[in-house]
Every structure is written in C-alpha cells, then in structure tokens.
C-alpha cells in the first residue's frame, strides 16, 4: 500500500503522459472558460462582487456560533430535526440511525461532496441499504465504481463511448453513444427510483442563518425530486456553509453559477426549511439536518487559514489550475481536489501525509485570482509548506539551505561556486541523462543552459 505521496507521484506521472486524457480535460475546461468569461462580463463589477462576497463570508465564519444557533432555531421551529456530528463516523452512524428508525431501505441521493468526504455510500451499502446516485455524472461514476473526478463535473474525464459501454454493461441498456439518448436512459432508470425510494439524502450549498433554510443548487432537477417524493429527507452539510441572511443569496447564487459552470444562475436553486408543513400536499414527513464538523473547527482555530472555510465549493480554482488540468481529479487521491483540496487536505487529514499536495504547485496564483470569495489559496500553500517543514524538517534540505546562505551572501564563496559550477558542467556530459546525473530531475526532459564564460558579477568587477 503506497503512501499518499508516493501514489500521487505515480498517478501524476502516469496521467501527464496520457495526452488523450489531458486533451479531454482541457477541451472541457476551455469550453467552460468561454462561458464563464461571458457571464462574468454581465456583472457590472465582478471584483466588487468578490469583495462583497468575501466580506459576507468573513462575517458568517467569524461569528459562526451566533449564525449556527440562529440557523438551527429556524429549522427546528418548522419541525426539522437537527443532529450534530463531530466526526465523519458519527455522521454516518446518525444517518444510519435515522434510516433504521424510519424503516428506510432504498435511498436516492443527490450530489453532496460532504457525503463523499465521509464515505457515506459505502457505509450505507454495508448496512444493507441500496443507494442510488441521481445526479447524472455521479450516477455514471457510481456505476463504474469510481470516485467523482471534479467537484462540479463528476464525469468530466469520460467520453460518450465510455459511458455507453458502462450503461451497456451495468444497465443492459445503451442504444447509442448519443449524449441525449444516454441521458434519457438514466432518466428512465432514475425516475422509478425517485418514486420508490424510502429516503432521499441531499447535501446543501448554503445554510441561510436568519430564516433557518438550506439552499440547494443544481441543474438537473434530481435534488428537487429527491426532496419531494420520499417520505424521509436527510440533508448533510458542513458547519461552515452558513450565510447570514436570505438576501445574501442574491450575490452567492449568481457568483456560484458563473464561475462554477459558466451560467448566470443554475437551473434550480431551492430553499428547504422543514418537512411537509400543514396544508402542503406533499413533501417528506420528516426532515433531518446533519451538521458536520470533521476538522472544520480545527481550520477555524487557525486564524491564518480560517478563510479556507469561506469556500463555496464552486470549482473555479480547479478549472484554472494548470496542475489540475494536467493531472486530473483522481490523482489527488482524496475527496477535495484542485487548489482548495491542496490547501485543506493536509489540515483535515494530516500535514505530513498530505503535504505533497501543497508542494505540487508552481504557485502561479491563478486559483486565488479565480476564487469568487477571494481566498488567498496560493499563499495558503506556502503556509502549509512552512508549517510542514517546521513540524518535521527534512534534515538534508535544511542542511542544503543552511549551506547555501553563506555562499549566496559572501562574494568570495559565490565566486568559488561560479568557478566550480563551470568546471562541473564540463564533466556533466559524462553522466547526462543517466541516474548518476545530479540534475536528472531537470535533464530528464529539458536541456540545461551552460554557465556563462563570464558571469555578471565577474563582468561587473572587471568594469570597475
């Protein structure tokens, strides 16, 4: 069993060599970029919107106790049952308990990254429940036994013929590889599931504190159906999802859709505040909301990294990240991929085991530029590197940097380095491209320029 870092390197090497895979991802993301820029252009002041969004999330997260309390009161007043889970295991047990109490066997689910995070499906299936993912992308990867590839587009990495093959194998029904026909196959299959399911499980995009409502964003309508037909509804969300007021959605819903999918607003944005109310003709008899901590309070306690909790899970940072675009979502080996994943995973799952995600970045800053709530993502990567090195320094790297300081600071030593380097380069061809080559990491794929016959400092000194 490889360590996460070793597995990551292995997968990254394999996927960067897979040009077809890179082509698919880049084509998808290029199409998205056109639409995103078009919708951003509709805003009168995108940067202004970003500032307002950042301030709103700052207020919510920095007064989280007040807003969480308000949120829960509103929900409970309408008859919703609220549960608290400090860990993923507790959340799984709570949900299993609710399903048991409600005699619920079959479950239909809409997309929820938080459920991925706690590996909910496996736990439910192990306990004998049937779980069907209703979001088309999630449905497809579930059939293939794969994790989602992207926060917003779970099946981004697949071609239509791969999907046709999957449907043929697992459903026995795939007339062609035409996307519309394939979608209709899924629609037919899933329709019955909505009607028959005992329980529906959803995630949530926002928790509206002042009125006690959850806000759920989607395009397909599968979450609407998941929340409409089964007699029990369960919503799982992280405690950081709060926004202070209903009015704040006027900003967040269009911003989420614009950078998340290149739409001005998503197809269905729905507020849920309780189970079926008196006088309503349908809706779940019981509505359970499970609030999850799972190390979020640890992120909260780190004032430097607290703004990572402002994340609205839009995927904008993934879409612009040159690393993500070349290695894809599965390489990260963890629920949250891309820049936000690289930032929070070491803090959620262990700094030393997962710091490689924070190191595998050129720190280009495109993520920070793209983030609609202004999280300083690439600076957080630097902070993670600093924290990891402080906690467990690598002795040889520390030594190398310590040795470098006097060389860089002292004229005589630097002069020596220059001359030794020049001489060393003359011998370099002997080991070039072999494993003995000290610069192998570079020379494996790139040529190295020669050290100049006269360095700048040497030229300058002669001039004076």
């Amino acid at each position: 069993m490889n360590s996460p870092a070793t597995q990551f390197k292995h997968d990254a090497v394999r996927l960067t060599a897979d040009r077809r895979h890179r082509q698919i991802i880049n084509t998808a993301l290029d199409k998205y970029a056109v639409k995103r820029d078009e919708k951003k252009g509709l805003f009168q002041d995108w940067l202004g919107a970003r500032q307002l969004a950042a301030e709103t999330k700052w207020e919510a997260v920095n007064h989280l106790d007040r807003y969480l309390d308000q949120f829960v009161r509103g929900l409970e007043a309408r008859g919703a049952k609220v549960h608290w889970a400090s860990t993923g295991e507790q959340a799984r047990d709570l949900i299993l308990g609710i399903l048991k109490a409600r005699n619920a066997r079959t479950v239909v689910k809409s997309k929820a990254m938080t459920a991925e995070e706690i590996h909910l499906n496996q736990a439910l299936e192990k306990a004998g429940h049937t779980v069907v993912e209703s979001d088309l992308g999630e449905f497809i990867v579930q059939l293939r036994g794969e994790p989602p590839y992207h926060i917003v587009f779970p099946a981004m990495h697949l071609t239509r013929s791969e999907i046709q093959e999957t449907f043929q194998q697992k459903l026995g029904d795939a007339p062609s590889d035409n996307p519309e026909e394939l979608t209709m196959v899924a629609r037919r299959v899933l329709r019955q599931k909505y009607l028959q399911a005992d329980a529906g499980i959803t995630g949530a995009n926002f928790a509206v504190a002042d009125l006690g409502l959850i806000s759920l964003t989607e395009n397909e309508g599968n979450a609407r159906l998941t929340a409409a037909l089964p007699r029990t509804m369960i919503t799982l969300l992280g405690i950081e999802k709060v926004v202070p007021r209903l009015e704040d959605l006027a900003l967040f819903l269009p911003m989420l859709a614009t950078v998340g999918a290149g739409q001005l607003i998503s197809g269905y944005n729905t507020l849920y505040g309780g189970p079926r109310q008196p006088g309503e003709p349908d809706g779940p008899e019981e509505f359970h909301v499970v609030l999850l901590d799972n190390h979020r309070t640890a992120l909260l306690a780190d004032a430097e990294q607290r703004d990572t909790l402002h994340c609205i899970r839009c995927g904008a940072c993934l879409n612009v990240c040159p690393i993500y675009r070349n290695i894809g979502g599965h390489s990260y080996g963890t629920t949250y991929c891309g820049p936000i994943g690289a930032v929070i995973t070491p803090n959620l799952r262990g700094l030393q085991d997962w710091k490689h995600l924070s190191y595998s970045s050129s720190l280009c800053g495109a993520c920070t530029e793209a983030c609609p709530v202004g999280i300083n993502l690439h600076h957080h990567l630097l902070q993670n590197r600093r924290n990891a090195s402080r906690q467990k320094p690598s002795w040889w790297q520390k030594l190398a940097f310590q040795a470098f300081a006097p060389m860089a600071n002292c004229r005589v030593l630097w002069s020596l380095v220059t001359k030794v380097g020049r001489a060393g380069q003359k011998l370099h061809p002997l080991v070039l491209g072999t494993r003995l080559d000290p610069a192998y990491a570079w020379t494996q794929t790139r040529d190295l320029p020669p050290i100049a016959k006269t360095s700048f400092k040497e030229w300058w000194r002669h001039r004076l």
Partner: protein, 228 residues
C-alpha cells in the same frame, strides 16, 4: 456534554482569535462597515432596466437563451387561446395542476381530466401526467427565473415531475432582480415560510456527458411561461 455542546465549545474557543478582514492590510481585523445592502448588490450584479417594457424584454431574452418558451398575453382570453393551442400541439390527454385563480381558469379552458394535487395525491398518478400547470410567486427579469413554492404551486413535485411545466404569472409578479425577489418572499411569508421555495431557471439540463447540453435530464424537458 452533547455533540452540539462540544462543537459549539470548539467554535467559541477558535473564535477567541480574530482573523484578518478581506481586502484590507494584513493587520486589519475589524470590518469597516455593515453587511452589504441590496443597493450594494445591485451595484455589482448584472444591470436591469427600470421600465416594465425593459424587464419583459430582458426576461424574454433570458428565457430564449435558456430554451424556455415565454409568451406575453394581453388578457385571460388570449391566455385561454394559447393554452388550447399548446394542448393541441403537444397532444395532451390529461394534466396535473392545483387550485388557484389562474389555474382554475386554465383547467376549465383545457377541458381535460385533471389531477389536482391539493390535499394530497398519488405520486404514481402524477408521474403519468404529461404536463403540470402551476401558478408562481414571481418571474425574475435579471435571470429569467420562475419562483415557485410548495404552498402556492401545488406542492414540491408538481413543477418538477411531469415532463412539461407550464407556469402562469400575472404582470405584477414580474420583478427586476434577485434582491427584489428575495425581498418579496420575506415580505410575503414573514416568519411562516413554506417548506420549499424554488427558483426555476429554464428546463432541466445537464452537461455531464462531454459538456454537451441535454434538456430534460430529470426535471421537465419543456418549460412554458405565460405572463398575463
């Protein structure tokens, strides 16, 4: 100590240290102003014209891009004519709806067997209806959205289960933008909110297969909106 108490304890402990406020120098920790107002939102969000005509035009433009059918009708008679035309074009033999002033007239004019959801209904029966006709709370010009609630649009499933959703709106229900729509919801429902409120923007859609747009993924494939 309950889980709730221990989570709150951790939250409070964490918040004893303040975090820097966004967009200001590194050491600033106090917000310089209150939360954004609707005016603040309006300054940054896409612009919406002030007149009814501009708003209708903007809604129409958005609806067209979203592949929703949008028709402005002069009065009840024209609405009735259009509904019958739609019934014949689509070949409906039955429909689902709910009680309401606009929907009562619509059902009467269409003269088809109706499944009314009020008071409860059989979901398998709803599933066989080719069309669901509902009223709505608002149309939003800025985005091309239809706002429905579980209290005023016949429940949660009526506007999403049948493959064709027809939404009936009155002139005075067309609002400019999201801030206005949300303000109206708060004003109308106060502390007694319906259990579901949905902003529907276009028919159901997905791009999950090679980023190709397909309509009718799970929700309605067709959305027809009448402004009367």
């Amino acid at each position: 100590m309950s889980e709730r108490d221990s989570i709150f304890a951790r939250v409070r402990e964490a918040l004893t240290v303040t975090a820097p406020f966004p967009g200001l120098p590194h050491d600033a920790t106090r917000p310089p102003r209150e939360l954004p107002t609707a005016a603040d939102h309006r300054r940054v969000l896409p612009a919406v014209g002030a007149s009814l005509a501009e708003r209708v035009a903007l809604f129409a433009k958005n609806a067209a891009e979203l592949r929703a059918d949008f028709k402005v009708v002069a009065d009840g008679d024209e609405l009735a004519t259009e509904l019958r035309r739609l019934r014949d074009a689509e070949g409906w033999t039955r429909l689902a709806s709910h009680r309401g002033s606009l929907t009562d007239s619509a059902c009467a004019t269409l003269g088809l067997p109706v499944l009314l959801t009020d008071g409860g209904y059989d979901k398998h029966e709803l599933e066989t209806c080719p069309v669901g006709i509902t009223e709505c709370d608002a149309l939003v010009a800025q985005t091309g959205s239809v706002v429905v609630t579980s209290r005023t649009a016949g429940g949660r499933a009526l506007s999403v289960l049948p493959p064709h959703h027809v939404a009936l709106a009155r002139r005075d229900q067309l609002v400019a933008d999201l801030p206005e729509a949300l303000a109206r919801l708060r004003a109308r429902y106060g502390a007694d909110f319906p259990s579901m409120i949905s902003f529907i923007t276009g028919p159901s859609r997905t791009g999950d297969i090679e980023r190709i747009l397909v309509l009718g993924a799970h929700g309605p494939k067709k959305l027809t909106i009448f402004l009367a």
